[in-house]
Symmetry: C2
Subunit: 277 residues, 2 copies
């Protein structure tokens, strides 16, 4: 499946057993779209990784990581770059010494992207997952490697017509999709769930909040409920690989592909074009 990978800068097909990613999920990851030979929004991904490393006290050498990314992406025009940074075991057991060695694993998955993806144009059908997210403020927002909740939620369905599952926290609040963030539009205001109790604060979510919606939309990060989906004029999903996907159906609830969503998509395309130029 993996065609290309670097472990601490060296081509690799395997990970040493000393990785605490394996033992405890003691690390972080980034999933980055590579198109036209360029890692999209790389500075945002590095910024998020830097902040998450600080929260988990992971001592990442970012300069070395950047040179390895450049090394891996040489002659890779299109696909997904996955970065994992994880502590290495020095002794057996949970204790992570300050300044413990940190390994970098880069994987590249070649993929051709449709430049007129029908999911982006016509919208997707989603479901509500039964698996709830637990509340853990210590890790809320972080893209860490403890992802069993997402695994169980995503494994609830195999119908290819359902593109994503929305997840609630244990109190019933709407939080995110299994692999995306979720946005609602109502009366011209953009709403997205607060992620201080659980959830992953995606890079595309950050770009929407800080760049695409800027000066044009009121933006509210709020506690939202499934009932807010019914009340919304438009609903869309975001992540770094898919960009923005309108939601046209949630269970049996139909939604239009609305003008706010389409405008944000256009702005995103402009931003990507400007970044590449």
């Amino acid at each position: 499946m993996t065609l290309l990978a670097l472990y601490n800068g060296t081509p690799a097909q395997a990970l040493p057993l000393t990785s605490r990613a394996l033992a405890y999920g003691d690390g972080l990851f980034e999933t980055i779209k590579v198109d036209g030979g360029r890692a999209q929004f790389l500075s945002y991904h590095l910024q998020r990784l830097r902040l998450d490393c600080a929260r988990l006290d992971i001592a990442l050498d970012e300069a070395v990581l950047c040179s390895e990314i450049a090394q891996l992406l040489t002659q890779q025009p299109s696909g997904v770059l996955k970065i994992i940074v994880a502590r290495e075991a020095v002794t057996r057991g949970y204790f992570a010494a300050r300044g413990a060695p940190v390994a970098r694993l880069l994987q590249f998955f070649p993929q051709t992207f449709l430049h007129d993806d029908p999911r982006a144009r016509l919208g997707v059908a989603v479901r509500l997952c039964r698996q709830a997210l637990s509340e853990q403020p210590a890790f809320a927002g972080i893209k860490h490697l403890n992802r069993l909740e997402q695994v169980l939620a995503r494994s609830e369905w195999s119908d290819a017509a359902i593109a994503e599952g929305l997840m609630l926290d244990r109190a019933g609040r709407l939080i995110e999709g299994t692999m995306s963030n979720v946005f609602l539009v109502r009366e011209g205001t953009l709403y997205t769930p607060r992620l201080h109790r659980c959830g992953v604060a995606g890079v595309m979510r950050e770009i929407i909040l800080t760049q695409l919606a800027l000066n044009t939309l009121d933006v509210v990060q709020a506690d939202l409920l499934p009932a807010d989906l019914s009340a919304a004029d438009e609903v869309f999903l975001s992540n770094s690989v898919i960009g923005i996907w309108p939601v046209r159906k949630i269970e049996c609830l139909h939604k239009p592909v609305g003008t706010v969503t389409l405008t944000l998509q256009e702005k995103l395309n402009c931003l990507i074009a400007n970044e590449s130029s």
Copy 2:
């Protein structure tokens, strides 16, 4: 660090990048004491693994695992056997297809055990961790690979005089140690936290509840609070490698090494001796 490991029956120093243990912590583990050439309470560990696999829908071939354990333990008299079972990736993403391939990783860490360990005889000092456990009934009791909470909790202290940290859930209930279960004795009754919201249901905990306390002690699995530690006559910790350790100090609270704890230790030693004979 690892001297011996088998990956799907083959000697290994590394794990293929297709392991979902690495990507998502999508797997389970067991930590088993090996003494006198024998894996202690192996049938209990296999039983727990079987139940946990059923809960996560992991299709483990137990017969093959058992033959690999025998293969690894040949000529290994003393140490810790760690078993990891984890789903393999077939495609990128969280979805775990039913019947997805499952890999077995066995690691052996040679270690000599003191047969008169002062921690077992004199008791240990423990602390209360700041890092709380989130409530996730879907995984409660399971020894899965998503262990960031334990990593952060165990990394709160580096003082070697502190043997363990006790963890509370987010509502303030006492749940477990970072690597052990916790028991309280009060007026001849044995109490241990209920583990239906979070926590790991350890094999040694199971042995204490179903074997060692049988017919001699009233046993209550209850919601406990830190205040119950103050009120307890005796407190002890358990896990498969340490057995039973009396707690002589919790933060600044002193506890005696009591007769109930010592009696349970003696019974455990008899059970191990009988198992080996």
